[in-house]
Subunit: 348 residues, 4 copies
């Protein structure tokens, strides 16, 4: 594939806020890679951090960089050693490229690989016409999953990993934070037998989406006493299980207070800095178990996702609230930043 | 309570086949017991064994005995030391009376108590106007569960115990045996996120019921090649998880053959005698895990059931196919023996 | 048993620092209780809090109260309903009296019972000639365990509960805090296959005891860089598992920093107040699992203890560093407060 | 590396009983392989099957074949794509070469890979001066483990996989079958906190070895009533956990009868054909959990082994009962067949 071929890509050109559309060389592929023609991409909070060039982005991103790590597309070329894929394969991407040789990778815990490289963060991403990725990161999709759903799988995987980390069967479940991952987790909790689902957020828009995806009770943390409301709808007991998707210290405090003795927590939301934490009352005296969740289990989570989506047990259609052509990425970022969106899809 | 009061009861009068309706003394209660006015009872395979006076029954039952261990009703009197219940309480019964002091009972495994006494088997049961049971065995029902459902809880607990013994989330699940417990397990598997459910039986009537309760594929083992059919509907893979409810050697062989490597099995159906078993190919080389299931976890299964029923995640309405007045117990036994029934309810 | 009989007891007479020896009435027993002649008692940090009349004690203790919750002795009388014990039985006591009827107690999680009453804290204790306790709380000891070891079982149970909460087999294990429970946990970790054990404390006395009980590496947190030392002795990897027994924010921070990705933590030490906690780096990005530990599992932990002690897999002899007659309880408290002690035993 | 170079190798020359020493070409290596100069090899039951040319061997082995799958040695050449190893590395081999791409391999369960190829069974093995294997199968040894121990790791891995499959901490453990894997499992059970270990076999030689490796009680199944003896040494309770290493139907029946309610079993021994099995009494009514064990967990078991060996928690020195030069392989096979051996090591 000649390097004189050009494609469109959304790039972070330099160490400053903003992104721009550029014409760049088509990526080249190594012997173990596949070249993917992007059919759909989507936006994640991380993309917003990169756009805004916040502290985290300044410390991690090395411009120029093509952004975007949630996507699906068609394989158009494969490296010389690739036997698992061929031209025409319809794939979604696992964004975490792991080393395969560390102790974590060798014991089924590749999601903890310290050598992880993230597509669209540490190397060129997929808000572009084409992207090159290792074949091992290209997950085969069945044809019946449309591109605007297939692009969500990476992010859906976070929701599945979190919701599968604790036993939700016949349990009263709290989900704090109703951004896209939160509402996807609600759909999963519903599908796997939660007895009741309580959702909190500070946006009525998001809480309405949470209801659509299966929440039984929604609480606006700006206007309601979260802990009191939870106790009111749980016969004063609190919740058995809690999926934390907000990262806000207030939500974290509320969740621990509303958790029953012996309860289980899965934490995915990232607090922006250390917080005041009542280890004695929240965790120890309570006999609580707290699971830190990062990424997706490689590749167990993907198999779980496939089952949930193919069987129709989980339907993600309603969480795609906006679709834009790739060229209108600025509008997409704006919609994302507004807080009044579910998932936003970009079509190259 | 004077012993001159009489009530109707279905009894095994002597060591011979059959049951009869009799007028007997009202049961007396000890200090830790409750007296329950029966609102509904239901029939289990065990009752049929007792009716038929088969080998098992001859070895276990000591006539005269009032039969019946599945029931619900209202508490009408409580023993002097009972603080947990009062007159008017609407309860279902756990039929296993355990000792509370053995190592099993003291470590949360009371379902394995070697000193278990079963209501309607080892002591007088509930096919009667009244029955006396330990207060600890009387599970509080919410008023919205109607008696013809509440009487099923004991048996539903077997289904929940079995289905919760393995991870069914996003899994391809086989259920062999579509008697009442089998179809209830199908409903549970559906509710807790099975990706697909395959059911086998030798009765088209039961397979139709299995479909209604949520099976995706049904296979009649009399007329179809079970293993080939399972492979056909699982992309040649077989199933991840299997709930065995038939107790038939042929079903057990088919299940193990259709099980994927690393699969999990929960066995509830009781083979009537030792069988030829291919431990090497079925279990060891396959890396399978096999869980023997007996009774219900005390009281974890009851809490799980309560959650499934109260939330409406599982609806048992359709499996009640027949209802008779208690006086027509012979018709009920006949319907049960026909194989063309779901659960059969008796109303005193 | 006439109430005119008197016995010696160490009591908190009023709401102020200190304890005193007094002559008090022999306890009476209810129908489900046993009266125990105390053979040995021991001191716990809680006793020191009560002695010092700190904030916690002021909020919880209602004088007058006989203190002491770690003890063993001989049953000398049993209530009318007690069939599990008889005069002459040699027992140790579970100090947590639980209700037996709440959802926790009914599902094998009695250690989380919200109605727990603690001997020597919420009701009269065992620094006395006699103590009355529910029969169910009196654990049968084999005769070969001497009283100065049997009295440790309650506290040893905390160590076993903590060490059994995570998988230590073939793992690099950190124990922060080498007070009595910490060093007992070290002995347990050694017995159940830890690959290496690293212990931290601020007392060289305690670290020496930790070495005796099986620690491979000891680190004095006052004088050494704990995290650097841990990395140095673990090939730069950190530890797989961590048992937190100190409750000090500095120890907690060090432990999380030294924990490997995917590591497991059991927290028993109680921080005296909320602390600054880096949930993102310590738990979430690390994919860590954190288990809050309270009390002992009823009665699973006791069975586990029995196995460890009877088989000789764990030997607690060396951690008993001081023995005093009960009358010298002031000396015992002083020794305990010095920090230069293991377990301290009182003989009535 | 020129193919004119020759080396000694023990081969199965044709489809008939026996093995012979031959001069063969040095193996060539592919880009992902390493060439290993063998320092020590050892004998496994599988080698005996191949020698004897039994039914299994006739169905599986395609002569001519160099046999031997347990070995250690030094890397002397690496393929062009190998970055994980270099000349001089001291390695042991995982004998199962798995595909890395199937669903099992991709979810941390490579030991169940249906595409497994076994060194010395499906491709040339290590009873030779040199052997070529994929680099990924070459486990780095620390220098302090001597070759006669390092060669045992593959087989030791079976013992570790089995013993780690169930919780042995503070448990009464039965090991049926005291061949090499059985006695290694005894050593592991001892190291990870078994309360007591009961071992059965039909050879006094092997039972003596079992005692040396840590068994508390040994029972000769030829001369003693196994179940009665087990009950006698367990206060009539039976065992909590059972590791089956014999594959004999009689041992399997005894183990299930001696297992406590709720017990856990790990089955590694392979019955030579289907057997009569009492599923009702052995598994279902007992609430037992049965784990089929195959191979070693890739690579979790290897990390576990490394920890046990490097820390000295398990010492395998005593189970090496014979050492022969490779040229005397016939003597080694004879010693193995006698039943009066632990592990037998061959030195090229």
């Amino acid at each position: 594939m000649s390097s004189s071929l050009k494609m469109r890509a959304v790039i972070k050109p330099s160490a400053a806020p903003g992104l721009e559309m550029a014409l760049v060389d088509l990526p080249t592929i190594g012997p173990a890679d596949v070249l993917v023609k992007v059919r759909a991409a989507s936006i994640c909070g991380t993309d917003l951090h990169i756009y805004n060039w916040d502290e985290w982005a300044q410390g991690r991103i090395r411009p120029p960089l093509i952004v975007g790590h949630e996507f699906c597309g068609d394989v158009v070329a494969v490296g010389s050693e690739v036997h698992s894929h061929q031209g025409g394969d319809y794939i979604s991407a696992e964004s975490h490229i792991v080393c395969g040789t560390c102790a974590y990778c060798r014991t089924g815990r590749g999601h903890l690989c310290p050598n992880t490289e993230i597509i669209g963060v540490d190397r060129n991403g997929a808000w572009a016409d084409y992207v090159a990725i290792p074949a091992v990161n290209a997950w085969h999709n069945p044809p019946e999953i449309p591109p605007h759903i297939a692009t969500l799988e990476e992010n859906f995987g976070n929701a599945v990993h979190t919701a599968f980390a604790v036993d939700l069967r016949s349990k009263k479940v709290l989900v704090t934070g109703c951004g896209p991952v939160g509402v996807m987790a609600i759909a999963v909790a519903r599908a796997i037998g939660a007895r009741s689902i309580i959702a909190t957020d500070i946006s009525d828009y998001r809480l309405a989406l949470a209801k659509k995806m299966g929440a039984d009770h929604v609480i606006n943390a700006l206007h309601q006493d979260v802990v009191a409301e939870i106790l009111a709808v749980t016969d004063g007991e609190g919740v058995d299980a809690w999926l934390e998707m907000a990262g806000a210290p207030s939500a974290i405090a509320q969740g621990f207070k509303a958790l029953k003795f012996g309860g289980h927590v899965a934490l995915l939301g990232i607090p922006s800095k250390p917080m005041t934490f009542d280890l004695a009352d929240w965790v120890i005296f309570k006999g609580a178990t707290v699971h830190g969740i990062v990424g997706r289990r490689l590749w167990e989570t993907w198999f779980q996702m496939q089952g949930l989506l193919r069987s129709g047990v989980v339907d993600l259609e309603q969480i795609v609230t906006h679709t834009f052509p790739l060229a209108q990425f600025e509008d997409a970022v704006k919609a994302m930043a507004s807080g009044e969106s579910g998932k936003i899809v970009l079509i190259p």
